[in-house]
């Protein structure tokens, strides 16, 4: 191994990236843009759920209930209807996603301490929103009933629910660390997947393989500049997470950086491996999108809990490096996890990186087929 050759390749790549504004912009802006877009677009919170009210009681008590629901901020009352048919029309047309019907004997029953039934209808075609909406409504109603029955000496069950790690249950807080992992998985492979394919396409590879350079010298030389770029991308993403999305960082930032570096090594090596197989930039970028984005998005535990997946799918998640990086980032950001707790993930990421790096070295042939 000759350092002078690794340095030569790395320097050449740096110069080429630096002189190509488009690839430079892609390298630095893409992760920021993706984090920005996904960070704001993917939210599991429900706000301003369009709700229609059908109040048959029209008492001060029913108005108080409505005011309570409205004040929670989760609902936006779009109309008060007097006819069941109007209520149906609102839901059918999608102008409202939830409806609350208050029966005519509402205040009377409340006063006599009888059971009261509220009719709550939610649009189940968006099951996620519906479930969350239902939760909010029952919470609001419970709060109301507690308030009304207070002072009457009734024993009330007071469930004190505490949520750990993300006390306000803001989905963004637990989405962002995972999102960084997903974005970096894609960016890392994409950055390097083009680099060898580009040389084949431009005809510079034929000249390069006629020199005594070794495969690992070429690959290491190509990894170095992209490692630097990837690392800057991670720093940018962490800064955005902390200061734009206000995600708390409970753990050690240096641990975060070191483990990110291990993940980057694997991700970038994967891109090189793809690049050695696909000899055109278009094919290389498409392959790297498919093999990184979809698994990282769907099977890393970033969006969907791995424990809820069928056994076969759960098994597959073990070979997806993003899975371990999602755990690492969520752990360090939200739980303040230390290396002791993340050692399994760290070791697996390192093994993945070494295997892929080794495969890239083996696959890269200094010969024209």
């Amino acid at each position: 191994m000759k350092l002078v050759r690794i340095k030569a390749i790395a320097k050449k790549e740096f110069i080429q990236i630096w002189r190509d504004p488009l690839s430079l912009a892609m390298a630095f802006l893409m992760p920021v843009m993706l984090l920005f877009i996904f960070g704001y677009a993917i939210t599991l919170d429900v706000n301003n759920l369009k709700t229609v009210i059908h109040d048959l009681d029209r008492s001060s008590l029913s108005r108080e209930l409505i005011a309570g629901i409205s004040a929670s901020g989760y609902f936006k009352i779009v109309d008060y209807v007097t006819d069941q048919k109007d209520l149906d029309r609102y839901l059918d047309s999608g102008k409202a996603l939830a409806a609350i019907a208050i029966p005519a004997d509402f205040s009377e029953s409340m006063a006599r301490g009888r059971d009261v039934q509220l009719q709550v209808i939610v649009d189940g075609s968006d099951s996620n929103t519906a479930t969350i909406g239902l939760g909010y409504i029952s919470a609001a109603v419970e709060k109301f009933s507690r308030k009304v029955s207070r002072g009457k000496g009734q024993q009330l069950i007071d469930p004190r629910i505490r949520v750990w790690y993300n006390p306000e249950l803001k989905s963004r807080v637990f989405i962002i660390p995972g999102l960084i992992a997903v974005i970096m998985a894609v960016i890392a492979a994409l950055l390097t997947s083009l680099t060898i394919a580009r040389e084949w396409e431009r005809g510079t590879m034929e000249q390069l393989i006629a020199t005594p350079i070794k495969a690992h010298e070429l690959i290491l030389g190509k990894l170095l500049p992209y490692f630097t770029i990837g690392f800057i991308d991670i720093i940018l993403s962490v800064l955005l997470a902390l200061f734009l999305f206000n995600v708390p960082l409970k753990g050690n930032i240096f641990l975060l950086m070191i483990l990110s570096g291990i993940f980057l090594f694997g991700g970038l090596s994967l891109g090189i491996l793809i690049s050695t197989v696909a000899k055109s930039q278009l094919v290389a970028s498409q392959i790297s999108m498919v093999v990184t984005f979809l698994p990282a998005f769907l099977l890393s535990g970033f969006m969907y809990a791995i424990s809820n997946m069928p056994a076969a799918l759960q098994f597959i998640t073990h070979i997806i490096p993003a899975r371990y990086f999602v755990t690492i980032l969520k752990g360090i950001f939200l739980k303040g996890s230390t290396l002791n707790l993340l050692i399994t993930e760290t070791v697996l990421l390192a093994i993945f990186g070494l295997i892929v790096f080794g495969m890239a070295n083996m696959k890269f042939k200094k010969r024209i087929a």
Binding site: A8, K11, K12, D20, A210, I213, I368
Partner: protein, 313 residues
């Protein structure tokens, strides 16, 4: 390894049944060559003759299907990486980085070949000097003219003073003046003892080589020095001028005793079995109403020989 350099008995290039097939097509068919040190070997042939494939195998960047080849005393199959240290290879397509400057490209290759830092300034100065690139050293390679690009390519492949130089159609698409410059450089290298293996589709360039090999459809048709090749026809050749040269060629080919007739614009090169046949030809053309504006006997060019050989094959 140094014994190979000093030992003149070992040929610079030797091939034995070197073959490359792509599926059903045979690109190079059992090539047997022996090239001495210090030769300027010209591989000539039409597109698709197998020249590029042959050069790629000799440069150890393409695996032969069958056969073996040794360059600078090393097998291209089992010692490919050693071969690469001894040779310079210039691909047919410009293979340098267009977004790097002239000097950056040269320094990049100096690093790849690990040229000692002490030797570099002198070496680079002389390479830039002979290629006339000194005033352009900070220009991006992509902004150079075709001729300058080729000279830069040559400079990069010479940075490590190779023993054998492989050039795949180095002057393709280069203007005539730059082509002449380029060949002047090659002659200088030859004086330094470098063995040069160049392919070309320009037949006038073949005459500048010390040895010419005619290749067609993967096989060698002729292999000799240019003078011997020109004599190899063994028949008198005449050049004729006519305003209807194309029509004349068709008629001439029907005359008995005519070996070949090829067209060069409004000129014809006709090989005949005997000089007396020329009178018959002119009479025959006269009958068809075609006038000949003049004719003279010429020494056949390599192109004439080659065309007649390829046509016969």
């Amino acid at each position: 390894m140094s014994r190979y350099i000093s030992n003149n008995i070992i040929p610079a290039i030797k091939t034995s049944g070197l073959t490359k097939t792509f599926g059903d097509t045979i690109a190079v068919d059992g090539l047997n060559l022996e090239i001495r040190k210090g030769e300027l070997f010209g591989l000539v042939g039409p597109d698709g003759a197998g020249k590029t494939t042959a050069i790629r195998m000799l440069s150890a960047i393409m695996e032969p299907t069958k056969g073996e080849a040794w360059v600078a005393g090393h097998s291209v199959i089992s010692e490919g990486e050693t071969v690469k240290e001894k040779i310079g290879y210039m691909s047919q397509r410009f293979g340098l980085y267009e977004d790097l400057t002239v000097i950056e490209n040269i320094l990049f290759y100096a690093d790849l070949y690990d040229v000692p830092k002490k030797e570099r300034p002198l070496r680079i100065e002389s390479l830039l000097g002979f290629s006339n690139l000194t005033p352009f050293q900070d220009r991006l390679a992509g902004r150079l003219s075709g001729g300058m690009k080729q000279k830069l390519g040559l400079a990069c492949t010479l940075i490590h003073t190779p023993e054998v130089l492989f050039l795949d159609e180095p002057t393709n698409g280069v203007d005539p003046v730059s082509r002449r410059d380029f060949w002047k450089i090659l002659y200088d290298l030859l004086k330094e003892g470098v063995t040069i293996f160049a392919s070309t589709s320009y037949l006038d360039e073949a005459e500048r080589c010390t040895r010419v090999c005619l290749m067609n459809k993967g096989s060698i048709l002729m292999d000799d020095n240019p003078a011997a090749i020109k004599r190899s026809l063994g028949l008198p050749m005449f050049e004729m001028w006519s305003d209807e040269a194309r029509k004349a060629a068709e008629i001439i080919k029907t005359v008995k005793g005519v070996h070949s007739a090829s067209l060069y614009g409004n000129k014809l090169h006709v090989a005949v079995n005997s000089r007396e046949l020329m009178d018959d030809i002119i009479i025959e053309l006269g009958r068809s109403g075609i006038t000949i504006r003049g004719h003279r006997e010429i020494l056949p060019s390599i192109e004439d020989i080659f065309i007649s050989r390829v046509e016969r094959q």
